[in-house]
Amino acid sequence: MAYSFPEEVLEHVFSFLSSDKDRNSVSLVCKSWYEIERWCRRRIFVGNCYAVSPGIVIRRFPEVRAVEMKGKPHFADFNLVPEGWGGYVYPWIAAMSAAYPLLEEIKLKRMVVTDECLELISKSFKNFKVLVLSSCEGFTTDGLASIAANCRHLRELDLRESEVEDLSGHWLSHFPDNCTSLVSLNMSCLGSEVSFSALERLVARSPNLRTLRLNRAVPLEKLANLIRRAPQLVELGTGAYSAEIRSDILLNLTEAFSACKQLKGLSGFWDVVPAYLPAMYSVCSGITSLNLSYATIQSFDLVKLVTQCRNLQRLWVLDYIEDSGLEALASSCKDLQELRVFPSDPFGAEPNVSLTEQGLVSVSKGCPKLQSVLYFCRQMSNAALISIAKNRPKMVRFRLCIIEPRAPDYLTLEPLDAGFGAIVENCKELRRLSLSGLLTDRVFKYIGTHAKKLEMLSIAFAGDSDLGLHHVLSGCESLRKLEIRDCPFGDKALLANAAKLETMRSLWMSSCSVSYGACKLLGQKMPRLNVEVIDERGPPDSRPDSCPVERLYVYRTVAGRRIDMPGFVWTMDDEDSGLRFS
């Protein structure tokens, strides 16, 4: 005799499943599980806002409390996506304001958010708690004022790296006096000064405040008073870290820091005056995350600070740290998991600091837990890459940017195929990889053969022919996102692997050799893909079919073609092909 669990029991069991993958699997078991699951799913993640429509999401999941969504392709960060391309969140907010009155969280990345959106959010969701806008744009501080004024239970307001039109710092004063729920505030991307007394009072009445990231305009002399009111802080982003050298300021700051026993993360540090760094020494032993990527101080000052942070897990720093500093890091910080080294002078013709491949090799040797790397440098060798690969087989994210495009192994003048080949062969858990330097089709053969867990691959100025692209598309089983610029990849590989594109989130190709004709063909062949040509030279129709397109963005979708495309984006699909069957 077969009988089933009552719905409530199943629902209770499902409530322990937080991963989308698991919930999706559960939905496929049978119709009744699908039904039960969809009514109790509270969090949704939409990796590409154009892959699905608000209507479809709302219809399937009626009781959502938290939405996370991404818009523009990653290369938008580097100005490769023209202004006005899309990624508008308004239609989503409008639909959700009606359908999800109990919505509590909205997290967006690379989307266009207007003041209208922010006002709508602040007025539609009575229980709204969390707003994270990562690399977003389109709004002003007036929109922030609406959020501050109307969201009575706001816990998190995080504007990380967004482009905000800064009309004034007055928005912060809109937090009502009875708002005491704040847990996290990140305003580091804002330019204007906020009213310091309003900020002080806000901090003082927020006993649950754990994360406070100030903007550059908050002066160092005032930092101590702020920190004093929030000794429970776990993450602090300073403002400008400079002031006249005065012993009273230093003493004040030192005392304030020493009261913060829970501090684990530090960031900010614009305009650092080294004399004030010792104020932080008392907290260094507890620090696990340190972002010094705006701190233009020399290696010896960086080393003095970093080597005191024995429990450091994550370090973001400028290349001023140099090879010697990285060697010191490798000796002192044995728990290091993530290292990002940014270039201080990316456009200079000559190196301005002594940072080479050696620094990265030292860290890979000395830090057994290193698994995530972003490294800008000016020279690399196959030997170094092979060494790194052998030292750290558990590497998960490896992003190397050799500043000069197509730079060969500086010792042998050969391509860096062997080096990156070693990376993918040894690091079997690798999920993200960014390539640079001189690379032939061979490196792509290695990647296709070995990088079976690779989910995201970024390629620039590499490869010889379509074979390169073909190796990647046919070999990388877990590939979800592929972004390519300035490579001689064209029609053959793309069309031969069209089906693969439906298993991925998206493909970006710019300044490659994909012809308009091939784009049209791809669009016709694959109705469940949106094949979008981005071309600022005018309609692709006005040029021969064999002419390569400027940019191509292909993504899977169940929502059909976009309806909000600007004049320089064209969708390739049956409607345009002229191959209609009556």
């Binding site: 482009e163 006249e244 305009d271 705006y294 800008f376 940017c401 197509r406 100025f461 300044s511 490659c512």
Partner: protein, 180 residues
């Protein structure tokens, strides 16, 4: 099959365009501060050609550094760092430049004495109101933002971290700096 060699030609710039690679726009935003700079005071004060280090033709979006970071780095350009604090010193009328190590000096007095020695000139005494008015020469420096400033206005420690190079201006040209 049309090989379309032109499209695969190794070059900088977008396919279909024959123009040289676009120049990236540099940041136009500046951090507000309270410094007095010579260009604010007197329009006749000439900005010295600072001879920015050679830049290559820039490819759009390469290297992959986000705009915010690029802008911040532009604003915070470090003084010449060969690890020692050496900066170039030029004097109007002198045939060649000299280099001094700022780290060797403890205060403005020591620095000015050293400069007077190096160039065999008299610089005189600094006053907040008059600058170096009355003396034959006035010491100026280029700061991190690229502005030309009068030596002596800011505290010594702030000066040595922001000074990129020095220029000893002839008194007659420096008149603009002295009068506020």
């Amino acid at each position: 099959m049309d090989l379309n060699l032109k499209a695969t030609e190794l070059r900088l710039g977008l396919p279909g365009s024959d123009e040289p690679a676009e120049q990236l726009q540099s940041s136009s935003s500046h951090v507000k501060n309270n410094k007095r700079s010579c260009s604010e005071i007197d329009g006749s004060c000439q900005k010295q050609e600072s001879g920015a280090p050679a830049q290559k033709a820039q490819v759009v979006g390469w290297p992959p550094v986000r705009s915010y970071r690029k802008n911040v780095m532009e604003q915070q350009k470090k003084p010449e760092s060969d690890g020692s604090g050496f900066v170039k010193v030029s004097m109007d009328g002198a045939p060649y430049l000299r280099k001094i190590d700022l780290k060797l000096y403890k205060n403005y007095f020591d620095l000015l004495k050293a400069l007077e020695n190096l160039f065999k000139c008299t610089i005189g005494v600094y006053s907040e109101r008059e600058g170096y008015n009355g003396s034959e020469y006035a010491p100026t420096y280029e700061d991190k933002d690229g502005d030309w400033m009068l030596v002596g206005d800011v505290p010594w420690d702030m000066f040595i971290t922001s000074c990129k190079r020095l220029r000893i201006m002839k008194g007659s040209e420096a008149k603009g700096l002295g009068c506020l």
